[in-house]
Amino acid sequence: MIEIQLTVNGKDYTVNIEEDKRLLDVLREDLGFTGVKEGCSEGECGACTVIMDGKTVNSCMVMGFQANGSNIVTIEGLEKDGQLHPIQQAFIDIGAVQCGYCTPGMILSAKALLDKNPNPTKEEIREGISGNLCRCTGYSKIVKAVEKARGYEDES
């Protein structure tokens, strides 16, 4: 076992983990952030996407011990005081959610994109979410939802 410290959604945690545990499992099993989904487990689908030190990563491809000292944002960290994040709200308003399994990762990829580039073109949005697979929607409503959320004021 090895002790790691990390910040998740603004809160500090110290956990003892097995050496071979992935960040995905630490977040889901040890810390209860089940909004992080496991899909393909090999970096193809993006369902397990989290924002690590400002950048999206597949949490199935980061070892738990590599995340020691890092700052993680999961989907649970987007809502503030009972208010959905503007990207979450846009996904609901546009109807960009069907089965919902890809949604947490998709929204975090969209957030990382908009944090860096508040007014992306359609092409830049498609590029920004290219690491997240959705088998329900055909993507067009997802792209529309991100377009709707463009230019939101992020108070965080």
Binding site: G43, E44, T56, N58, C60, M61, M63, F65, S130, G131
Partner: protein, 283 residues
């Protein structure tokens, strides 16, 4: 399994000497899959992803040095690769997905040694040198020689830098894959071409990915194009030469007929883009 987070190069090469059966992990985009699939059982896993001295791109006189731990995102966003070195940026931008590019490193791409590693053909055109460090000291190997297996990384070594001369010519990269994101290259071509005042090819490097057991320079194509003026005839002839070289190399492989046809548009496109980007376009 023992895990270590290395903080300096020195610490890592000491750990590599201490543990005979160890594995380096940087971005982890290949290593974690091997661990999960029980393909490797290292005694020690040494993380280098937070070692600052392995990161970054530096201009040193005429040379450019890329730290082995620099991610594809960091390369794709560096201004140094905006102009004549755009081909390296393009190759890195086409790897995997944003999430993979945020973690995957150029050093990992080289050491993992896939024939389809996208960053390698441009680095071959640049005649890059790899710098390895170990307790025994520093070892420098040409990337081209490294790929020919007998100079491969030794167990106690760490790849720390990739170094090349900032070229006069224009670097380009073209890749064919089944879809744009998250697809491994079916094949790729990188070219580095310098034209003289009369538009003749003054210097040329051509390298391919997935057209052999490892990415390699296409010397016969280079030899033919050197001194010529790029145009319809020379481009077609260059394609023929490459196809013949592939025929010898990939003989008996089921993918050969497909690859031979597909490489035609790939090399044509790479050379035609060079023609179009030259100031005086030859009509």
């Amino acid at each position: 399994m023992i895990v270590h987070r290395g903080k300096t190069i020195e610490e890592v090469i000491e750990l590599l000497a201490k543990y005979k059966d160890s594995k380096i992990i940087a971005g982890g985009t290949d290593v974690i899959l091997d661990i999960k699939d029980n393909k490797i059982f290292p005694e020690a896993l040494i993380d280098i992803s937070s070692i600052e001295e392995l990161k970054g791109i530096e201009l040193k006189g005429d040379f450019i040095e890329i730290g082995a731990g620099t991610t594809f995102t960091e390369i794709a966003e560096d201004e140094i690769f905006e102009k004549n070195l755009h081909g390296l940026k393009k190759a890195c931008k086409l790897i995997g997905s944003p999430q993979i590019r945020n973690r995957g490193t150029v050093g990992g791409n080289i050491v993992n040694g896939s024939p389809a590693a996208d960053s390698i053909p441009p680095l071959l055109c640049l005649e890059s040198t790899l710098i390895f460090e170990s307790l025994e000291g520093i070892r420098k190997v040409k990337l081209e020689d490294y790929l020919k297996s007998k100079y491969r990384i030794k167990e106690h070594e760490l790849l720390t830098k990739i170094r090349f001369k900032n070229p006069e010519g224009l670097l380009n990269f073209i890749k064919l894959a089944i879809r744009k994101a998250l697809a491994i290259s079916r094949m790729s071509i990188a070219t580095l071409i310098e034209l003289d005042e009369e538009e003749k090819v003054k210097d040329i490097k051509v390298a391919s990915g997935s057209l052999g057991r490892y990415p390699m320079r296409e010397l016969e194509v280079e030899e033919f194009l050197l001194g010529t003026i790029l145009g319809e005839y020379t481009v077609d002839e260059a394609v023929n030469i490459l196809q013949n070289a592939m025929e010898k190399r990939l003989k008996g492989r089921p993918t050969l007929p497909y690859k031979k046809r597909a490489v035609k548009s790939l090399l044509k496109e790479a050379l035609n883009q060079r023609i179009r980007s030259s100031r005086r376009v030859i009509s």
